[in-house]
Subunit: 232 residues, 2 copies
DNA sequence: CAGTGGTCTAGACCACAGC
DNA sequence: CTGTGGTCTAGACCACTGC
């Protein structure tokens, strides 16, 4: 058989769990027992168990055993990037403003800086087939080497803006998603004349020491965005 | 040192990547080289590399080597459940309707059933401190043992409704998030008198063979919901 | 105390890359 | 052909659990 032994172990245990033979909290056969059952060495058995643990099927308690885990029914993975979503792709961007500003209380608090710290503010409009679909504002802590060259920021996504001055590994990210009615400025920029709502996505980036590096707020016309999340 | 050798290997390579010594696409020292560098056996080195691969730092090409991976800057994890979000928790639910219905074209297509297949439709209202905050509709394929007991479904989340008749392991889930203006029915149920938009979350559940098991549509008052996603 | 999982070794054979 | 990663073994010692 060309199927690795550890895969066979994984599948056998998954089957026991999926079929209900093993329920959450139940103990799995001990590693030594599995060694005998599958005529495998302990390292091979442990490799299979590690895969099951990674996939959320089991957990282990040292000195006691391996147990079936209560699955997490609330977890979803979403791939978010300002320029593309499930129903639309941004094909043009327009730079409205690049400025150095001083933060107000809320912004200073959000980025954990004093009100005297200079920030870069970038405002952009996103278009699809000639129609404005989103209004985008970014606030970045100024750093040496920060790209203020218009060409470099006009089409960049948020992590790309920071990638040139901050190591992108260890970068922590956060998004907040909510619905909002457009104010007059949004209605003007996004050509909204009726009751069309906005979907707003706030992005916050932290360096590997959890220091906030920037805040982005992207307001999408509600008819041009759907976000999709899947499990695993 | 009580830190496991494989952890030391992981940290050493992470540091090389975070500091920029190793860039995406670069080859990592071969496993045999790492064995010598860390005076460790190959299995120990491989355990460290497996962790780095799982965390998205590296990938391997058999016969060639291990390489630094381009990090995925778009991936977020969101914990979604109808009853609670970043700014609100549902503390009361009201069952509006439990019915057997025949699907229209759109629904039959979405659930991959014929129009003659019976579906269960459940309509609920969610409240927080006495105020209606969300309107919730679920469509379920009828199965033996399906809970139509009101007590059992009134407060259940979507996966919980299915958990009694379907194994929850291997369950695949999908959510679609978008903003929408409320229609008159929504305005009535959710006490909306002004331009408040809705945030709509559609949930679709599939069994382990990718057969759709149910569709849920939850429409939240925009001022009572924010969804949060983080990386890793 | 025996049994459990956590770590680790020093070998082995294989399929595959690239010269 | 050598070097690479992928799989696997048969031991070992440790810390912890529960009797």
């Amino acid at each position: 058989m060309s199927i690795p032994v550890y895969t066979q172990i994984v599948e056998a245990i998954k089957e026991k769990i999926n079929s209900g033979q093993l329920k959450p909290g139940d103990a799995i056969d001990s590693e030594n027992t599995l060694c005998k059952t599958f005529s495998a060495s302990r390292m091979t058995v442990r490799k299979g168990l590690a895969i099951l643990a990674r996939e959320g099927y089991i957990y282990s308690i040292p000195g006691k055993g391996n147990f079936v885990k209560q699955p997490d029914l609330t977890k979803y993975i979403i791939n978010y990037d300002e320029m593309s979503n499930t129903i639309n792709i941004v094909d043009k961007t327009q730079l409205l403003e690049v400025n150095i500003i001083m933060p107000d209380d809320e912004l200073a608090n959000s980025l954990q800086v004093t009100k005297r710290k200079n920030l870069i503010r970038i405002k952009r409009l996103f278009f699809t087939e000639g129609n404005p679909v989103a209004y985008d504002v970014k606030y970045l802590l100024y750093q040496r080497g920060m790209p203020i060259v218009e060409k470099e920021i006009q089409h960049a996504t948020f992590p790309e803006m920071l990638a040139k001055t901050t190591p992108i590994y260890g970068l922590k990210k956060e998004i907040i998603i909510y619905a909002q009615a457009p104010d007059d400025e949004m209605k003007y920029y996004l050509n909204i004349y009726d009751e069309l709502p906005l979907l707003v996505v706030e992005q916050k980036l932290y360096d590997k020491d959890n220091k906030p590096m920037g805040l982005g707020i992207t307001s999408y016309r509600g008819d041009y965005i759907k976000l999709k999340g899947i499990n695993q």
